[in-house]
Symmetry: C2
Subunit: 193 residues, 2 copies
DNA sequence: TTGATTTCTTATCCTACATCAAGGCGCTGA
DNA sequence: TCAGCGCCTTGATGTAGGATAAGAAATCAA
């Protein structure tokens, strides 16, 4: 269960010690999620996030017209949480649930502050992670503003080649910001050529 | 020139000492920018960011169809930079320029790492800042995916009431992700009611 | 002041994608 | 085994906002 996490940090922070990994593990609680099981519900104060060991989660919001918009997919070795709300004890801005039966390691609001005591490199690591999310979020914003549905689908294929097989198409549509019908037409068009 | 910065930190980090503020100032270089002057050019390695003392900057990308998309406005007391590229020494993902004659305090790639030595509360402060940006980016993404041009314009008015007077409408349109013509129509419609 | 840019408005037409509706196909479960 | 329910597809029609064009208004420069 924890081997995945150990490997994850050993490749990303080569200097890491066993004691540090153990200190980390102590903060993370293993948990199994079944497909469709909800970890965080939008609007409620679910103060936790997850590291995905096996399976795939997603974060999403549902708007006034009851349409779902997916912010992030989190397959193996990804982190997923609503950091902003979690650290402030606010109602979650989005929901998080499992798209497949999954195994995750859960952490609470004190996780990030605690990293400091384990080692400053962890603090820095999560800061870098946040910067990466920010950068990819910016790219996505630009993509939605400037690219067509087809272009965005192709970008998605490039970015997450493995997810296309694993996820239902309606999920991909909800990520791209188009209807399932439109995605179906885009795929039909691409198949023709 | 630096009073603004001092006041900024004194309200946000009340426990701060004079020595700390001075250490910070030592990292920041005053500079005047004229309207339209470019600080960072997309694709080039401009390793710096700014704290805005007076005036207003913006970060933006231009896409293949040569259309501009504005990521952020930075009026007084805002920070603006391409952290991701700056810290990695990569070509900038977007441009930053001045929308008004402005006074800024510039910082380099070593600024954030150096905060650590000045005090951990600064490190944490900038981490929080990044979280805020991330959260507002997420809100914007959802807004673009689910709201109409009119709704987004109204959100913008709520969020940045002072900027509407200061900025040309084409800039607001480029932020909202619509054409200046569409924004003009939206405003006309709103004025009717 | 006045000519030259730039910015904003308005009108017409167009297009990418949404919406609505219906049919097929594959799971799942009694 | 087959009923029933998601999921995907396809077609017909609708619409928000884009593209283009041209004039009005504001700003700038000399």
């Amino acid at each position: 269960m924890y081997e995945q996490l150990r490997a994850y940090f050993q490749t990303r922070l080569p200097g890491i010690t066993d004691t540090q990994v153990e200190a980390l593990q102590a903060q993370l609680q293993p948990r199994t999620l079944r497909r469709h099981e909800v970890l965080i519900r939008q609007g409620e104060a679910g103060r936790r996030g997850a590291f995905v060991v096996q399976g795939c989660l997603r974060s999403y919001v549902v708007d006034k017209k009851t349409k779902e918009h997916i912010l992030q997919f989190a397959p193996e070795s990804w982190w997923i949480s609503d950091q902003y709300s979690m650290l402030r004890g606010l109602p979650a801005m989005f929901s998080i649930d499992a798209l497949e039966d999954s195994e995750v390691l859960l952490f609470g609001p004190d996780f990030l502050p605690l990293l400091q005591t384990i080692g400053p490199e962890f603090q820095a690591f999560f800061h870098t992670l946040l910067q990466n999310s920010m950068a990819s979020m910016q790219r996505r914003l630009i993509s939605i503003l400037s690219a067509t549905a087809e272009e965005r689908y192709l970008e998605f294929l490039q970015m997450y080649p493995t997810l296309v097989q694993r996820l239902p198409q309606r999920m991909i549509a909800a990520y791209l910001g188009i209807t399932p019908e439109s995605l179906s037409r885009v795929r039909k068009e691409l198949a023709r050529s």
